[in-house]
Symmetry: C2
Subunit: 551 residues, 2 copies
């Protein structure tokens, strides 16, 4: 993975084959894509301080995991310093490394994890579990002022599907497995976990659990909190073992205490998760709606109907315009841009093309199931003035769905800050919240004197509400530190979530980025309940201190 | 509600109109129903000690809730002493009142609840929240050795549906509402909560949440943990407010800490819950399977299919025989007992009628949805050699579904101890667990020298497993205290759950009855995590001490 950006070194996103994008971003955001990207800092230009780790602890760690699995090289320490938030990328490109870990250890077994945890506590060190390193909420960095030794525990060597209970649709899996490797192991035996977050290619099962992840097909498969049944977690007091039972009434849910715990209770080593037989059919259909309100109302009606779908997604008009602007010359989305189709939408359907919203709905199951549900959804779409745009755009979406984070690096190379913030709220609250968020972001853009951009899609539907996923971008003004400008916009968006019945994050966790809104979200008593749990399990604050509750 | 048994004074269960029952229980369990029932103890024969409550606390409580809402009469204190477990009923019929509450208070608002909680802590008293009083796990009684004043806080006056957010399918409801009252208020506006536990007629929303309840239609509507989105809970440190968002990644779930907390974190005053439009169609179809294995396999296949149903239930051969034995002369189940139908099953379907298993599957939704799903399930049933027995028996089941607890009183009147224990485990583990539980119970019956009875049904299906619900009965021998005999059988059943991959309870909570198996279920570290939470929120152990973790 790139130490300075998203994904693999050899992959990057380009506008060369997307003829509409240059004019679009020049007009809407004021970015000139013809300017050459700013040069990146070289690794050897970074000032990496020597590790602050005494020999006794280093020997103790080496005794546990072996010489080959202890790394103190600058590259490895830099890679394990941050996640991949916009703030992380800006800082690392500036050479601001914060409080780097002093050592990275790679245990290969739960027994070794227990040894590392014990050594950290015995030697009064801080331990930060590290999965794929994709977190965007600041969950992976040590506090800047931390004076104790900092150990990054990378679970990447623990990546096996240990067992599939085919009779119970459950797989027992080591927590360090990356998304594609997990699917490869499961698919080989005819199974899938059905969990596909944007970060899928670079994030781990343990990371999904530690941050309460959600995936693109969670409408069918559930969020990771639903998928995860059994757990093994190395805590300071021994190994927590949660049985993979389908449902239980054993007091406050310990399983749900581990979900979202971001390393503060221990290191997740293994999980037993729902798996599903690969579906006979799988398709994603694009629909176009005359307005955002119509699109949201249709998603609401689908959720309230007898239909069962795998994906529900609708973009607002700005995100729809952006999607069309990023299409390649040869794209299957281009069919929607022909003048004949536009004329059909305008004249026959009465669309205002500036307000049009693109939607994707996914279907999985038997041919009969897919057919019946397409019919149910089709009727709902029609009721709201929408039209089907067929399978082509859906297939394109499916193929490109993990590419979005690369666009952020592309923009950052050109000096533009882009990031995401997402929330969930009740169906009736979606539009008021949306309006408030857009207004709050634009007010900040105006105050900063920048040409900012904000767009949104509904990404997951539930019985009582949905997730709204916002993307914003701003070419910062020269007057202020870019991160200060980013903070003001991000804070305005987050505050609008909280002021309008939303949660601080639907699936990106709390970390340090969102900690200041936690009391507004779950009330001060809720924060205190989480704190007494952390304090009781880890009174020495050895495990990823400062995350979630800020303490 | 009866102080000595289940339900309303004027309702009881009778065998007079069930001609097959007398011979059945005489032959199988050795009970003679022609013997007159044992006379009940009269209320005024009970030795009710004076309340151990000083005037200062009594005045403080009266100042909060008013004179009319403080009760120290013997009847009210007796009614609030226990729940309705077999142990509770035996003890109360013996006049063994344990540690009665000294006072029962009935706050009418959350503000008053907060006043009562504050008074309890200030005056070093114990506070036990009380909903409908139907708990069967010992969650409602004060420790026998408790020397502090004991206050029972009855939430029964807080019973209003406060608001329905029709756009979001959410209702905000006071926690003290009883099942039928809740449905009446929701139905009047076209909605249902879809939560129907056996105890429905006498249990409350707050009680369902505090014990992680599950209902008969949870296959469609979810368990109470799924249904409950928002919460208000008065804790010693202020009021916890959980926003009713559909999904969130705000660290360890505080919502899931309250679910199953049995009063140990505070008093649940309000919840925001999923509600659904009353379905256009609703039907329950009976099926007969040639064996228990075939019935379980069919339920598994339904769960793994594209079908969406509201109820999945299959009884083992003994419970099937019991169901047939309890039918009335005029019952619609009688159709299944005609010699023509029996001959059809034996000759055409190859059934061994002694091994036959009765199943119910429920369907809800549009006419088209019900039809399509009946077809899907019908095909699965056929695959496993089952046959449909139509709507008649299902309608009967639906009508009588809340009557079962009355049978326990009927048997207890005749000296027979009957109770239930339920668990959940993975699909592949259901039969081994079932076999082990039956063997363990029978071994105890043999050791005690009694003619015991144990039967079982699968009551809820999930993606990865199901709930098995066992009912056992024994006419105790004269050699030992009946409760000692009951304990041995109950413990053998519970231990078999834990030894075979099951949980200590799927939906009846931990209380005091199941506390000794908690560490076997969620591991010692899990128990410690719950304990540090309780200790941190309530260091003085004022809130329902001793429940769940035994401390």
């Amino acid at each position: 993975m790139k130490w300075w950006g998203w994904g693999e070194q050899e992959i990057s996103w380009s506008h060369d084959d997307k003829p509409s994008l240059g004019p679009f971003v020049r007009e809407r955001i004021g970015i000139d894509l013809d300017q050459p990207p700013a040069p990146l800092i070289e690794l050897d230009q970074l000032k990496v301080p020597d590790p602050a780790l005494d020999d006794v602890l280093l020997k103790a760690l080496t005794a546990v995991v072996g010489d080959d699995n202890v790394d103190q090289t600058p590259l490895d320490r830099v890679v394990h310093t941050y996640g991949k938030s916009l703030r992380d990328l800006v800082r690392i490109r500036r050479g601001d490394l914060g409080r780097l870990p002093d050592v990275v250890v790679y245990p290969g077994t739960e027994h070794e994890v227990a040894g590392v945890v014990a050594a950290a506590i015995e030697h009064d060190a801080v331990l930060i579990p590290f999965g794929g390193g994709t977190n965007i909420s600041g969950s992976l960095e040590a506090p800047r002022t931390e004076t104790r030794p900092v150990i990054s525990l990378d679970v990447g060597r623990m990546a096996q599907v240990l067992d599939i209970d085919e009779g119970s649709n459950l797989a027992r899996v080591e927590a360090g497995v990356l998304g594609p490797d997990l699917e490869r192991q499961l698919n080989a035996r005819g199974w899938t976990i059905g969990h596909f977050p944007d970060s899928f290619n670079h994030s781990t099962l343990g990371g999904w659990i530690a941050t309460r992840s959600s995936g693109m097909q969670s409408d069918k498969y559930g969020d990771i909190a639903d998928i995860t049944r059994g757990l093994r977690v190395v805590t300071p007091n021994g190994t927590l073992v949660v049985r993979p039972v389908p449902s239980t009434s054993t007091g406050p849910s310990v399983r749900e205490m581990v979900l979202g715990s971001e390393g503060r209770l221990g290191v997740i080593t293994e999980a037993t998760v729902h798996v599903h037989r690969l579906p006979a059919e799988r398709t994603i259909i694009a629909y176009l709606f005359p307005s955002w309100s119509a699109g949201l109302a249709a998603m609401h009606d689908i959720a309230a109907s007898d239909a069962h779908v795998s994906v529900t997604r609708v973009s607002d008009a700005d995100e729809t315009a952006f999607s069309f602007a990023t299409t390649k010359r040869s794209s299957r989305l281009s069919a929607l841009k022909t003048s004949a189709f536009k004329a059909f939408l305008k004249k026959r359907k009465g669309f205002d093309l500036e307000r049009m919203c693109l939607s994707f709905v996914g279907y999985e199951g038997s041919a009969e199931h897919v057919k019946a549900n397409r019919k149910l959804v089709g009727a709902i779409v029609s009721t709201h003035g929408g039209v089907s745009a067929g399978e082509g755009p859906g297939a394109l979406y499916d193929q490109k769905k993990f590419d979005t984070p690369y666009i952020r690096d592309f923009l950052l190379d050109r000096g533009t800050l882009a990031d995401v913030s997402e929330t969930s709220t009740g169906w009736s609250q979606l539009e008021p919240l949306y309006d408030a968020v857009i207004a709050a972001a634009r007010a900040q853009f105006d105050e900063l004197g920048v040409r900012g951009w904000i767009m949104c899609h509904l990404s997951h539907s539930y019985h009582s509400g949905a997730c709204l996923y916002f993307t914003f971008a701003l070419p910062p003004s020269a007057a202020l530190d870019p991160l200060v400008q980013y903070d003001r916009v991000k804070a305005a968006v987050q505050q609008a979530f909280l002021d309008n019945g939303g949660t601080l994050s639907h699936h990106h966790a709390v970390g340090t980025e969102h900690a200041r809104w936690l009391a507004d979200d779950i009330s001060p008593v809720g924060v205190q309940m989480i704190d007494v749990l952390f304090e009781g399990v880890d009174p020495g604050h050895h495990l990823n201190p400062g995350k979630i509750t800020g303490r």
